[in-house]
């Protein structure tokens, strides 16, 4: 175990150095060469004896077999997945640790510690993949890299410093567990989260700039570096990623618990990992619920930056991608609800809610179908023939955004309701106003669902300008409903009568596969949405500023993209399996040589 830890730390230090050297050397390369890619004709250059740095002359280099784009795509996606996990775990570990600190319940502290065991190895993977990505960008896309360096050169220094700070906080947080006072340790966790989030915000500025460049002149020259950072989609991407990271991290944590649950040797172990899986899943689903709202904001800002970019996203080339996304998100909601419903079987007293499950399932299914109904604003003739027109032959006009927005909002409310019933499983409110509280909660649900449906139907009868704006009151009313119901629920069940116990560990194996399913689906969704965010630029490296003139300057088919995403997800889970295995070594007994009875 000690050997593994030392090796792990050693690897991390090497990766850290690699990253920093890489970032600094690339930055220096640009500075030394000055503003790059001047249009120096060969004759002029020869006349002056000017030989621009060879890097400036090479626009692209080819990666063997799969090509540069696929190579960068896979490595970038793997880096993002690990980075998301490494940023997310400290967030909910800190919250769980804080709960343990406030309640004095040691189980929470142990759970938070167990989650952070996954961090150490994952951080090494993240750093290694980040260094690899940087090298590959410099080698395969020198022209783009140099331009980005010219724009963002000053962001690399704080990035490198923050990276060191994150390593410091992370290892102190992990190895210092139980070695400091709880407050100091919580402060370390807070520092880790702040530094990690700041790192992500910087990196987000680079990629967001490529989609919605800002702070530059018409010819692409830098005018204001802060404006380049604070471009149109930077903050929506930041918010969306923070939430999505938590959802993703929670699901991977739950998958780890499921893996341990399935291999558990004792009831005690099973009970522990059942609980851990439940917590991880609650984290994932709690973050999933507001995620579509962050997605709306991001989409809105894409439209605000460029209507044509927005329409390419939602109604053009990528419109079919959102049907795949609907299948993924629908499956996520379905699996999350399923896990909760199965989980109710181990709660004594929850049987009184079983009769509602069929209605919840019907709601989830109907919403899923509506959301996944295709409708292409600019359907090609071939597409239209396949669908029998611009609308789906069976689901008809339910494929438009008015219906989809309505469906996804009701889907969120249904999942919230499932969680509410799960939470109440073995509890009975004893407060005098319980009946009134339930009535208000019920009325809130009914009113908001009616309001959301009304707006959805109304959207069919108004012009586009009005229709686009209807999604905002739909979203706000759903958020309001969840806030009101929660605000009533917490005091109503504060000193509730406990009807029975929760038999942790008494979960069928299929429930654990639901947790795997959720983690895989999250990873696949991340890959797909990462593709659309980058692919949206189509034949531009930096939208409207720097064209992609490489052999890959075309948007591949969705089938091809799905293939790349699938391979990436499989590689990711192979790496994650290694992380799980390495993390599990810490609980194994130290190796000892077999004692031999040697005759004296």
């Amino acid at each position: 175990m000690r050997g593994a830890s030392t090796c792990n730390r050693g690897t991390t230090v090497v990766c850290l150095l690699l990253c920093v050297v890489c970032v600094l050397t690339t930055g220096l390369q640009v500075d030394a060469a000055g503003p790059q890619t001047e249009i120096v004709t060969e004759e002029v250059a020869a006349a002056a004896g000017v030989t621009p740095a060879t890097a400036g002359d090479v626009e692209y280099r080819a990666f063997p077999v799969v090509g540069s784009r696929v190579a960068i795509w896979v490595v970038a996606q793997l880096h993002l997945m690990f980075a998301a996990f490494v940023l997310a775990v400290p967030m909910f570990a800190l919250i769980i640790e804080f709960i343990g600190y406030r309640t004095g319940d040691k189980r929470y502290d142990a759970l938070a510690h167990e989650f952070t065991k996954l961090l150490s190895v994952s951080f090494s993977f993240t750093a290694t993949l980040g260094a690899l990505l940087t090298f590959m960008l410099v080698i395969l896309y020198p022209r783009l890299t140099q331009y980005m360096m010219a724009i963002f050169s000053w962001t690399f220094f704080p990035y490198a410093l923050l990276f060191f700070a994150e390593a410091g906080f992370l290892y102190t947080y992990y190895y210092g567990w139980g070695k400091f006072s709880p407050r100091v340790h919580l402060a370390l966790g807070l520092g880790l989260n702040i530094v990690g989030t700041a790192l992500m915000f910087i990196a987000n500025a680079w990629l967001a700039f490529m989609n919605s460049p800002n702070g530059i002149s018409e010819s692409g020259a830098l005018v204001n570096v802060w404006e380049a950072i604070d471009n149109f989609i930077w903050m929506p991407i930041n918010v969306h990623r923070v939430i999505a990271n938590v959802a993703f991290g929670g699901s991977i944590g739950a998958a780890y618990a499921a893996y341990k649950f399935l291999g558990a040797q004792s009831d005690e172990e099973r009970a522990h990992y059942d609980w851990m899986g439940y917590v991880g899943n609650v984290v994932a689903i709690s973050a999933l619920l507001p995620l579509p709202f962050a997605g709306y904001w991001l989409g809105k800002e894409v439209y605000a930056y460029s209507q044509s970019l927005g329409i390419t996203l939602m109604g053009g080339t990528f419109s079919w991608l959102f049907i795949i996304q609907a299948v993924l998100i629908g499956n996520l909601f379905l699996a999350a609800n399923y896990y909760l419903w199965v989980g109710m079987e181990r709660i004594e007293g929850a049987e009184r809610f079983r009769k509602f499950i069929k209605y919840l399932l019907a709601s989830v299914t109907i919403c899923f179908l509506v959301w996944a109904t295709p409708h292409s604003l600019v359907a090609s003739i071939a597409e239209a023939r396949k669908m029998g027109g611009a609308h789906h032959p069976a689901m008809g006009v339910l494929g438009v955004m008015s219906a989809k927005n309505t469906a996804v909002n009701i889907l969120i409310l249904t999942t919230f309701l499932s969680f509410l019933l799960y939470r109440r499983g073995n509890k009975e409110a004893t407060v005098s106003w319980a009946k009134t509280g339930n009535t208000i909660q019920f009325a809130t649900f009914v009113t908001v669902v009616a309001f959301v449906v009304f707006l959805g139907v109304y959207g069919y009868f108004v012009e586009a300008k009005v229709r686009i704006g209807l999604s905002v009151p739909q979203v706000l009313s759903v958020l309001l409903a969840m806030a009101v119901v929660t605000a009533i629920d917490i005091p109503m069940f504060k000193n509730a009568r406990i009807r029975g116990s929760i038999d942790w560990g008494k979960m069928p194996a299929r429930s654990q596969y639901a947790l795997f399913f959720i983690a895989i689906t999250f990873a696949w969704t991340m890959g797909l949405m990462g593709y659309v965010r980058a692919g949206l630029r189509q034949h531009w490296h930096v939208y409207g500023v720097m064209r992609d003139t490489s052999v890959d300057a075309f948007t591949p088919t969705l089938g091809f993209a799905a293939g790349v995403v699938s391979v990436t997800v499989l590689i990711f889970f192979t790496f994650i399996a290694i992380v799980f295995w390495l993390s599990g070594l810490t609980s194994k007994k130290d190796w000892q040589a077999e004692r031999l009875d040697v005759p004296t």
Binding site: E38, V378, E463, F516, G544, V545, R547, A553, A562
Partner: protein
């Protein structure tokens, strides 16, 4: 055994999603190709080319429909050749169509939100000639096209320079600008060229050098001054002067780059 089950399950779920990805329509989208614009095209030919550009490089039909009954995000273009004359009081149909393209948010049709990008600029970046053909096509929708390749549209002549195949370059920082000015002074360039005003000295003013010349031309004008001589100025003077003072022996690559970067940033503003 458990690990094997998990592996099979993982591969199965991923394979299912890969399969879903194959089930949707498959289409590769390639960058728009340039359409040949000839100066001798007839109006009918312009309509055909304009139709092609509207559906392709111009990306007009990504947002606009033609003859759709649904309320879209942008106005339907059916009959626009006729309607254009009534959209904006006091403006002819041709001028309205031209303004809609070069300055699309100057007038926004009732019931719609602003948001159309000027299509003569990147990322769409149609040339004036291509826009003429698109206007011919739009006129053909509900009216008889009147434009020819000689027609000068309202707002034409402001094509963006940035075809953007070439990486843009950051402007010089204040420190670099000072260093470049010091170099131009030490090499006595400012004896013959003015940097801060349009007045001519022995040579033309450089206060708008970046607006008149691209970086290649700036390099050329320093390294081979007689290759292109500004109208009204005698050839040979600069070459003799620079050679006489040993400029080409002294100047370094970095100094040259710095001066060209600085001159490229002078737009005459």
């Amino acid at each position: 055994m458990t690990a094997l089950k998990i592996l099979i399950f993982t591969v199965g779920v991923v394979a299912f999603y890969a399969y879903v990805g194959q089930m949707v329509p498959q289409k590769e989208t390639h960058p728009p190709e340039n359409t040949e614009i000839r100066a001798d095209m007839t109006t009918d030919e312009m309509v055909e080319v304009g139709k092609e550009i509207a559906g392709g490089k111009g990306t007009c039909l990504t947002c606009h429909t033609i003859g759709s009954q649904e309320a879209g995000r942008f106005p339907d273009l059916a009959g626009i050749g006729d309607k254009a004359s009534t959209r904006k009081a006091g403006m002819s149909a041709l001028d309205y169509l031209a303004e809609s393209i070069y300055d699309p948010n100057a007038h926004v049709t009732e019931g719609f939100l602003p948001g159309m990008p000027p299509i003569h600029k990147p990322p769409i970046g149609l040339s004036d000639g291509e826009i003429l053909t698109v206007v011919a096509y739009l006129q053909s929708l509900g009216s008889t096209p009147t434009v020819t390749m000689e027609t000068r549209l309202l707002g034409a002549g402001q094509e963006a320079d940035a075809a953007s195949d070439v990486a843009p370059v950051a402007t010089t920082s204040p420190g670099e600008a000072d260093a470049a000015k010091a170099l131009l002074t030490s090499y006595m360039c400012i004896t013959c060229h003015k940097l801060d005003g349009p007045e001519k000295l022995v040579g033309p003013s450089l206060h708008d050098a970046g607006a008149r010349l691209n970086r290649a031309a700036l390099y050329e004008s320093i390294l081979d001054p007689d290759a292109t001589v500004a109208t009204g100025f005698p050839p040979g003077v600069m070459t003799v002067t620079l050679k006489g003072m040993g400029f080409y022996d002294k100047v370094s690559v970095d100094e040259l780059k710095l001066m060209v970067s600085f001159l490229a940033s002078l737009k005459g503003e």
